[in-house]
Point group: D2
Chain length 424, copies 4
């Protein structure tokens, strides 16, 4: 990672160096935007782009909302122009008519964002800008559409082929590590000593994706425990006093936490690439590793049990069966699993491998799943087929054990849950 | 540069490592393309993309032409769908209708190229693919349009903010240096010893732009001579037996060669950024440098003189005046200078600084300009204004000396050239 | 730094990789040593050296003491052999007789240490070994001599030309930063947040010397505050709520803490090189910096005042005068200043620049110097002369202000201090 | 390698940066030396050391010889002082008396060389200085002794633990590659295209040792061909038109050339470490490699055959037998093999594995061994034992095949060679 930072520092240095030279432009931001869009010169363009980004940074929420409303209304497509160009292209297909059509169908705000991105280091600003936009778009449907423009561009810029996987460890730069502390979203890291326990032992790994133009910002990261046999609880993995195992003994990699870092990159999915890349890299580094599983939360379990009438935590055995049933059988209207984490991993081609009760005794773990967790198995030889069957037929891949559990769970549910509960 | 290669090697290693695993798919390429476009899964998508790229690489010219024709015809927009979506969006603007409109207006081939680029290292393949396309498009207008799709995507991917400037010197990796030999387009480098003369002396510099996903391929590079006073001939700069000057003495940087390396990136302009970035970096490193000039060819001079009736090389003084006149006064119908190199540098905000006869006595120099060359001056404090005045009013910035020369040249031309020639 | 770690990781990886292959050798360590010394083969030598180092690591204090006693007694020179070889060399000077003389005068333990160092990564072990030795040598004069052998070798290995200066900042690897926390010996760093305050602000710098074979271990580091004007107290420099100043404003670099990290390198002085190198590097990076001073403790002041009869802290003005007098006039028998920090900086060619009372209100600061501190000025143009005059004539370079203060201090002291105190 | 250069560039930059500041000192060099030895201050010491090195560089051969004679005569030990110190140490062993003894037994020239080495980058200068010294010492026995002082210091500085192994390939910096061309001593490389054939194909490798303070200078390098089965001729390995084999197919690494680069490091052996390190690294990278052999010249074969009366090249079969006999049975007076290359590899623990006639048809190959070459096998599991048996009993390890050949060769030789030749 440090190499990355070092290398690409050039980009940021330029950004920093050139900053002081520019003085604040007092013109209305709409004028700056209009000039940037129309202006074809790079010098002036860079100055304008820098100004607009700086001005945006200094805005309060109302001003930002206004700015996005301006993008939505004033920088939208011109329907009549599209129609005209389309007709011309249909009648006389040529480079010129196609170019005119392309120009007409792309709203000015896309070109704006593209030009803003010419400033070195601007990508990070634009990601932050989209993070604001997504917040406003929740309450304002008229802004939701323009997010599609951002997303369209970001999908190009953050193309999988541009991402760089780097290990994060105790030798990583502190300014990256503090972001791991800040961004860990699954099992919180409270301080540097807790971070050290996750990174320094030789049987712990962490990997992150970076983008060359945001070298100081991890995009997504995954934490891995190397174990002998599968871990059946997160307490065991995070225990302060556990013994580090010798690398020769480890046969399993447990992905116990995966966190997206940039809200401004929502919907630009990296997670599946990350896990598969790490599986591949770890297999190569440690050929003894034979099993790659997650230890994942089941965020919707309690809510679903309540909806079925379970007012209290079921007894352990029953809970495991109900959890298996929930993961495998409970679907949304579109036939996809109701559990979002299940959708993610099954969509990646993983399979439901094992269910563990009492596996996450944290307040959060208890409230979302009565402490139950699940292993999703990443079997490189089966991923492709799992993925396709899941995509085509919504078929949930699962181990025989979990399938058996799920049938038992289904049986319980098919009876009157109230009855079951009192009978147990 | 070597750092860059080293770091980003991860990307390429992945590409290389994953290659052998895949077996050749014998399905028609159209089927692979159709599946890639429709398929939403990453695993299968990567395999398909790799297959398509490999298949393309193995095609002969006719097959490639067929492939592009298929992109042009079968993967074009559906005009009726565009019309319908547009109407819906006009009537009910919403995220959903806007998304439908965006999807309809973007031809499938853009999504294809984007998905092909998910394979690590694919960017280089796609640049090569566009290089082929441009070749075919010369003879086949129907292919010219689809280049706009490539160009649209490439402009995003090769955004200025993503480029990394690296010095090229005698400590650069050999596999980069051999590309400098191959790509030098202005003053040919015949072998490693000639290359050494351009890179090793402390008063010679070279800089190139690289893109993170094509770490082994320079995109464009510029060669610089640090001199005491302006150089008035390329012979002097490239002389085998010249004396290296001490860095303390140098007050001028002469940009004597700039070469684009990737035909597949034609029209994605980096040249102006490169020169300005190098001016900025050199100013910082060597504060004694006070003047930044090019020593540039005048490719259209002889042709223009011939058009005016000059059948032979004019005498030196006259030639200088005519060259100044040509650079400043001879315009295209759109008011822009007729000389392409002049358009480039004036468009960047440089000014015509001095004209030198007998400055390039190579066969090529003599045939294009009777050996005449020109200095364009990059004065950071004037670039922005020059650029705007040139853009707005087609005003050619020039030194008083060159302006005076140009007036004399104009006088000569206004008379009967035949007469002038015989009078001299 | 991270680059260093990265690069030289090769060395350590080899060490780590080869470790598991070796099984514990149960022979007495003396036998292993004897075999290592006599054995000329590298393969067996590496195995033996690794064994001896591992065995040493596992020893308790008594065993270590025995080991050093063995080095002192059994691996000493053979006086008669030296005498014989010397006579032969005197009579017949030749390569052969000189070689025999060299061999005879070097005790076997030097060759032992040299051979131990052939194991990759062993240098760090040997530095730790000497750290133990120095501890034992305090109570056991017979061991003090053999430290000269270690020191002789270390002086070669840690030759100034082999040291690498690296900035330490918030982007440095965490495993290096935790060593900065651990090794800070002047103004303690209690946790990561305090460390961040010393490293992250743009007006704070830190530099360390590293040795290529101990890439994860700083040897010595210095902390620097960039300020506008001289800082007159450490409280001001370390204040949590101070404002970071703009780099354009800074004109002074204050070296406020310098810490040796390796007790096993005691007496191998790097401190003077470090400060001078940092002065040179900072001058180059920030040409606006015109003054380079330390803000140093005066560790012996209170003790000296007590010896003169001052039972309590003198009043501020008087304290400043007495401190100046102490620094400039109070000498050891050999004519050198009695204050060790003064000896260090004056020996480096610095001068006493200003004295500040109430400058270090920590418990330690109050107890050693009633809170008084001193600026030593590093003026690159005067360092060489200061150094020589101090070396030759024990002349203490000082500013006119401090000299004047010192005269006032001398006057006070020349009177009856009891009298002075009661008079104030 | 490039990383190394990059990192350690700091060291050289300092050297370069500080150079211009110093003006030439006209005092006799003896005075500079005397001052450097006596002076304890670092600032002045660095200036003096730089001056002495620069002055030395500017000397002609006679002046250099004078300089070494001065080191030999004026900077030798003082025998009486040694005697006195020794007696004192014997009578009163203490730190002080031991220190005095150490000081007395080390000639001043050692301290001189150590102080010269404080200048960053000086190590390279001192290696060059020793290269001169070795040249003069050939004709002047009085200078041979002082080389022992250089060698003593160099052995410490170039300790195995300080060396860094780096691959050399087509991505290495050009200024390193040109040194590979220059230093290749076994099978000459005539130009960059030949170099490319040795480095670029994926079945060719090259590795070099570097020292951190001489980052631009390989110390020794080895060239490796990865092959399917053993190569029986150098022509085959170096053939321009050979087919690169797939890495999956390679099962053998052939070390076909090993070259020392620095004459000034003669006698500081790295070769054995290099080969063993490369064997270890290649085994790790390519686990399919099962055999590590050299393809080595037999430099003394023809000379030895002539001495036995063979005036012409024997017929092939006979030649192979005689070569085997020569390698295994022909010894020096000390019992070591007469062939220097055999001594080197057997001393490393390798064994004679196979003999090939017509294996080097170059002029040099024919003249030294009638084109015969030999494979020495590095079998990691046998190296240690081979090495010890060779060291202890001068036993030459060899394959049964070669032993059988050698017996046949011995039989031939035991008869009248003249007879044999005519009989064949």
């Amino acid at each position: 990672m440090s190499l990355l930072a070092d290398l690409l520092a050039t980009v940021f240095e330029r950004a920093t160096k050139s900053k002081p030279a520019q003085k604040w432009d007092e013109s209305p931001i709409r004028e700056l935007v209009a000039e940037l869009i129309s202006n074809s010169g790079e010098v002036r363009g860079m100055v304008l782009a820098r100004q607009i980004l700086d001005r945006y940074d200094a805005m309060d929420d109302d001003q930002k909302r206004d700015f996005f409303t301006f993008l939505a209304s004033d920088m939208d497509i011109d329907a009549q122009a599209v129609r005209n160009c389309l007709t011309e292209y249909e009648q006389t297909p040529s480079k010129a008519t196609y170019r005119a059509f392309m120009d007409a169908t792309e709203p000015g705000r896309q070109e704006l964002v593209r030009r803003l991105n010419q400033v070195p280091g601007a990508t990070g600003n634009l990601v932050a800008m989209r993070s604001d936009l997504l917040k406003f778009a929740r309450d304002d449907a008229s802004l939701a559409a323009i997010d599609l423009d951002f997303r369209h561009l970001f999908a190009s810029w953050f193309n999988r082929g541009f991402l760089v996987l780097r290990p994060i460890n105790w030798e990583s730069p502190a300014h990256i590590l503090e972001k791991i502390i800040a961004y860990e979203a699954v099992h919180a890291i409270d301080n540097w000593e807790e971070l050290r326990l996750r990174l320094q032992p030789s049987d712990r790994r962490c990997f992150a994706f970076f983008h060359p133009t945001m070298a100081d910002e991890p995009l997504i990261f995954v934490e891995v425990a190397l174990t002998r046999g599968k871990s059946s609880s997160i307490q065991q993995i995070l225990a302060d006093d556990r013994e580090t195992i010798d690398m020769g003994e480890a046969n399993t990699a447990v992905f116990y936490s995966i966190s997206n870092c940039q809200t401004g990159l929502a919907g630009i999915s990296f997670g599946n690439s990350l896990i598969k890349q790490v599986v591949q890299d770890l297999s190569h580094e440690l050929p003894e590793l034979s099993t790659f599983v997650t230890l994942s939360p089941i965020p919707g379990l309690v809510q679903n049990l309540r909806a079925q009438g379970w007012t209290d935590k079921p007894e352990q055995t029953t809970l495991g069966q109900l959890a298996a049933h929930y993961l495998i059988d409970i679907k949304r209207d579109d036939g996809m699993p109701i559990d979002p984490v299940a959708r993610f991993h099954l969509g990646n081609g993983a399979m439901v491998h094992a269910v563990h009760t009492d596996a996450d005794l944290s307040a959060n773990g208890l409230s979302q799943s009565y402490g139950t967790m699940v292993n999703y198995l990443y079997d490189l030889s089966a991923i492709s087929q799992n993925h396709e069957e899941f995509g085509a037929g919504k078929i949930v891949a699962a181990s025989p054990e979990v399938k058996a559990l799920a049938r038992l769970g289904a049986n319980i549910v098919s009876k009157d849950p109230g009855y079951v509960q009192s009978a147990i």
